[in-house]
C-alpha cells in the first residue's frame, strides 16, 4: 500500500487525476455547506447574469453566472455532480459486480455457459450502447434507479469479456490445477484463487468505465432522458443553455467543462492504475 502511494506521487499525471477526483468528490459532498444559493431557486431579477471572477467571495454573488431563470450555475454544477456521481458510481458497481461474476463463471466453466454468454455479449455489442440506453430509458422511465440499471446494462459486458479472457488464461495456470489437485471446491477456487487475481483488471476497467458512464449519463440527460427536473443535471443544463448560445455563452460552457474535467481526471487515474498494475491491459480494451 505504501509503495502504491509512493508510485502515485511519482507519476504527475496519476497524481493530478487522483487529486482532481478527490476535489470533485469533496465538492459533491460539501455542496450544501458552502453557502451557495439553492440550485433550484430562480430569480427573475438575476436572469443570465454573466460570470464575474471578482464576485467569487462575496455572498449571494454568482461567480459562474446565472441561467435563463436566474439560477446560480456554480451551485447547479455542484448539486448536479451529486446526482451524476451517484448514478455513475452505482452503475459502475452494479455493472462491475455482474460483469465480473459472469466473466468468472464463463471462463471457469467454459463450454455451453461460456458460448451462450459470449453470444449475448455479441448481440448487445451489435446494438450501439447509446441506442440501447435510449430505448430502455424511454421504455422504463428516467428515475435515478432506472438510470443506474440502464447504464450498468451498457457496462457489464466490458467486464465480462475481459475477465472471462483473464480467467481462461488463469485457468491454465498451474496453481489453479494445484487447487483442483488438493480437492478444493468450485466456490473456493472462484473466491480464493480466481477473484483475487482478477481484481486488478476489474479496478482498472471500473475506473475507465466510470468516465464513459459519466459522459453517457450526460448525453442521456442532454436528450431529455436523464434525471427529471427540477433536479439539476449537467446534460440537461447543456441542453437548456444551448438555446441561449448567442446571448449567454456561460450557461452552456461551464457544465461542459465540469464534465470534461471529471472525465479527464478519472481517465488519468484509470490510465495510471492500469500502467501500475498491468501494462498488458493497454491493448485489451
Amino acid at each position: 500500500m505504501k509503495s502504491f502511494f509512493l508510485a502515485l506521487l511519482k507519476s504527475r499525471a496519476g497524481l493530478f487525476g487522483f487529486l482532481l477526483v478527490l476535489v470533485f468528490i469533496a465538492g459533491a459532498i460539501l455542496a450544501p455547506y458552502l453557502g451557495l444559493p439553492s440550485p433550484t431557486r430562480s430569480s427573475l431579477t438575476a436572469r443570465m447574469v454573466a460570470p464575474t471572477w471578482t464576485s467569487l467571495f462575496s455572498p449571494g454573488a454568482h461567480p459562474l453566472g446565472t441561467d435563463e431563470l436566474g439560477r446560480d450555475i456554480l451551485s447547479r454544477i455542484l448539486y448536479g455532480s451529486r446526482t451524476t456521481l451517484l448514478i455513475a458510481a452505482g452503475a459502475v458497481v452494479l455493472g462491475g459486480v455482474v460483469g465480473t461474476l459472469l466473466g468468472i463463471v464463463a471462463g471457469y466453466y467454459r463450454g455451453m455457459v461460456d458460448r451462450i454468454l459470449m453470444r449475448i455479449v455479441d448481440i448487445q455489442l451489435a446494438l450501439p450502447l447509446m441506442l440501447l440506453a435510449l430505448l430502455v430509458v424511454a421504455a422504463v422511465g428516467a428515475s435515478s434507479q432506472n438510470l443506474v440499471v440502464v447504464l450498468a446494462l451498457t457496462s457489464w459486458l466490458r467486464y465480462a469479456r475481459i475477465i472471462r479472457g483473464q480467467v481462461l488464461a488463469l485457468r491454465e495456470r498451474e496453481f489453479i490445477l494445484s487447487a483442483h489437485a488438493i480437492g478444493a471446491g468450485t466456490w473456493r477456487i472462484m473466491i480464493k484463487h480466481l477473484l483475487p487475481n482478477v481484481m486488478t483488471p476489474v479496478l482498472v476497467i471500473a475506473t475507465l468505465e466510470l468516465a464513459r458512464i459519466i459522459i453517457m449519463d450526460a448525453a442521456l440527460s442532454f436528450l431529455g432522458l436523464g434525471v427529471q427536473p427540477p433536479s439539476p443535471s449537467w446534460g440537461r443544463m447543456l441542453a437548456d443553455g444551448r438555446v441561449y448560445i448567442t446571448t449567454a455563452w456561460w450557461i452552456v460552457t461551464f457544465p461542459g467543462l465540469a464534465i470534461l474535467l471529471t472525465v479527464l481526471s478519472v481517465n488519468l487515474l484509470g490510465d495510471w492504475l492500469r500502467d501500475y498494475f498491468d501494462p498488458k491491459l493497454r491493448t485489451a480494451r
Binding site: 458460448r115 495456470r173 496453481f175 480464493k192
Partner: protein
Amino acid sequence: MTMEKTPQKPLVIADRLCKTYGGGRGFLAGSTPALKAVDNVSFEIYPGETLGLVGESGSGKSTTGRVLLQLEEPTSGDIIFKGQNLTGLSKPLLKPFRRDMQIIFQDPYSSLNPRMTVGEFVGEPLVVHGQGGNRSERNDRVAALFRRVGLDPSFMTRYPHEFSGGQRQRVCIARGIALDPALIVADEPITALDVSIQAQIVNLFQDLQDELGLTYLFIAHDLSMIRYLCHRVAVMLRGRIVEIGPCEAIFENPQHPYTQALLSAIPVPDPKIERERRPIAFDVNANPTPADAVLKPVGERHFVLG
C-alpha cells in the same frame, strides 16, 4: 533396494488410458480434428517406487500425469488407486483420494497463487480437508512443513514474488506433502530452474522419498536426471508408451529405435565423449506406430511396443 524383488500390489495402475482432445462438433465452431494426446497407455507404479516418464513436447507425458490424478477426465480407460477404480467418481467421492495423491508442476512462477501468502498456500490443503486443527495448530504444521523442505518458517507471511525459482519450488513441494500423500506426480519439476539449483531440488525429492516412503511419477525430458532418480522408465512418443522397463535395461539396452535416438541425443558434459557422439536419427513420420501394436516383453519387466 529389496522392494523390487518382493511381489507387492501396485499403488496405482493406469489401464489403457486414452485422452482425446477436440473431435467434437461445436456450436457454430465446426468440427475440429481429434488429437489423441494419450493413446492406450498402461502402467503400474509400486509403493516406494519412482517411475520416470520421458518424452518430448507433445508426447502426452504431462497429460498422462494429469489424467492419472483425475485433473482431466480420461476419454477411456481406468485408474486404479489402492485397489479402487477412480474413473467416473464424482468430485465429492474423489475428494478423500485427493489426500493421497499430489502434483508438483514445472513452472514455479505460475504454480503459486500470486495473491496468497506462501504460508496460506501451503496450509490450504489442510483447510480443504479439515485437517490441522485450529489456526495456530495449523500454523505450527505449516511451519514444520517449511522446515522439512528447507525453508525458513518466518517466510510464511510473504508473497510469492519475493522468492527465487528454487524457493518457490520448495513451497510447492511443501504444499504437495502437506497431506502426507502416497503418490506424487512431479511434472518436470526441475526443468525451469537454474542449473545450480536443480541438484538441490533433486536431492530434496530423494530425501523426502526416503523419509516419507513416497511414490513418484517423475515426468521429465532430461534423461540424465531420470537415470539418476528412477527405478523404472517409460518412454512416450505421440501419446503412446513405446518402451517401459527398469532404468538399467532402458539405458544399457534400449530396444525401440525412438528410445535409442532419444538416448543418443543427450549431450554429455564431457568434451571427449561429446565430440565423438553421433546422434541416431529417428523420423517419427517415416515410422508410424501401427495402431494395433502392443507392448511385448523383451526382458525382465522390460517391454517394447511393436
